[in-house]
Amino acid sequence: MTETAPVITVSNLIKQFGRFAALRGVTAEFSAGKLYAILGDNGAGKTTLLRTLAGLNRPTSGQITILGAQKFGDICHQVGYMAHSSLLYDEMSGRENLDYFARLYGISESARCTQAIRAVGLDPDLRRPVGQYSQGMRQRMSLARALFNDPKILLLDEPFSNVDIHSATGMVHLLANIRDQGKTIFVVTHQASLLDGTADEFIWMEAGQIVARTLDLQQTARTT
């Protein structure tokens, strides 16, 4: 395989919350068409890293280059972001939610939304408002929200939590497919074994730093 140019370059990223530094100098390059699994203990700074990549946190210092752009605003329509919270309106159905968000991305064919909902294994015709979904259904709808605009980069914060094992495996296949279309995917998760064999690289974080990058899960070159 030829070495592709990095799609994301992060150099010496520091993020402070008041007196507390959640990211303590993260430097890394990520290349296109790969699925990265980000692992690490609670409080290691995984969410903070993802939010900073998604332009939701402004770094205290350090540089981020995504798809050649320094400003997140220039490439935001090529990024999909899924968070712990659902980022959905509880009072509307999943379909209505996606239709609305599609408008924000300038997408008007509703086929894309239907497709995204199907892809995560939900029924596009479900009329129930999202507030009444079960936790895992909400999680999947949230993934659909991150997917529907066919982004080049996907940032997923614990997509498998609360999702049943079948669906989680389904999601992994889905992600693998998307990766094979040349997209770059970041998955923060505590269920690393789900991604064993699928992820191209495992990135181990600890106390705000990347402490190791390994090609497979067994080779846990952890320093602790």
């Binding site: 605003g73 329509h77 980022l87 509307m92 997408i107």
Partner: protein, 224 residues
């Protein structure tokens, strides 16, 4: 970047739909202003010429407070599942969100005004002696003045502790000139004078602050 056309209407439609489903804002506004009307009509025997003098103040104070309650409600919806983050990572311009919210709130408050004004007229036996059409202009301009700043400051107060109480703290001082203009204009028309000066003042207030809001809203929305 995708064409941002239609984002504002889509957001507005979404807001109206959510409000229609929950009726949070309109219920609390209605309740509050009903109480105000009744309380005042009890607290003094309205006799035509006196009540005419006082009604301008009464009506607008009631609407101002009702608007504060409504504004808090409509923004609360956006932070429930951190949906605002979904907006922030999307390519949709911040101003579309702002305009949609402002217009939505304008509609809510106008509906309230349309419902309440007849009650005021009945309870206080009002009959404008001046040109009535000017009252309509005053109402439209005045409501916009309240709502445009209110929307802006409500977005700002999302970022503060105890946000409910923050909104009036920020909004009231800056609204004082507009409020004064509305009250005076209304009183003048009711007691038989004209209100051209005040309308001009309101118009320029609206122009200046709408411009300022549109210029600065992006900064506020993207602050962490």
């Amino acid at each position: 970047m995708p064409a941002p056309t239609g984002i504002m209407p889509a957001t507005l439609r979404k807001d109206l739909r959510l409000e229609w489903r929950s009726k949070d804002a309109i219920n609390s506004m209605l309740f509050f202003s009903l109480l105000v009307v009744v309380v005042f009509s009890f607290s003094f025997d309205p006799n035509a010429e006196e009540s005419r003098r006082i009604a301008g103040g009464l009506i607008w104070v009631a609407f101002l407070f009702a608007a504060v309650v409504a504004l808090n409600q409509t923004w609360a919806r956006e932070i429930r599942n951190q949906v605002l983050d979904a907006y922030r990572v999307s390519p949709a311009p911040a101003n579309s969100l702002f305009l949609a919210k402002a217009i939505g709130n304008f509609i809510f408050v106008s509906v309230l005004e349309a419902l309440m004004t007849p009650l005021f007229v009945i309870f206080y036996q009002l009959r404008p002696l001046g040109p009535t059409w000017q009252l309509l202009i005053v109402a439209a301009l005045g409501t916009w003045a309240l709502v445009v700043n209110g929307t802006f400051f409500a977005a700002m107060s999302l970022r503060t502790r105890s946000r409910e109480i923050m909104l009036p703290l920020l909004l009231f001082p800056i609204s004082i000139p507009a409020l004064l203009a509305m009250v005076q204009a209304t009183a003048n028309v009711l007691t038989g004078g004209g209100a051209r000066v005040w309308i001009a003042l309101l118009l320029s207030y609206d122009l200046v602050f709408t411009t300022a809001c549109l210029l600065l809203f992006e900064t506020v929305l993207n602050a962490e």
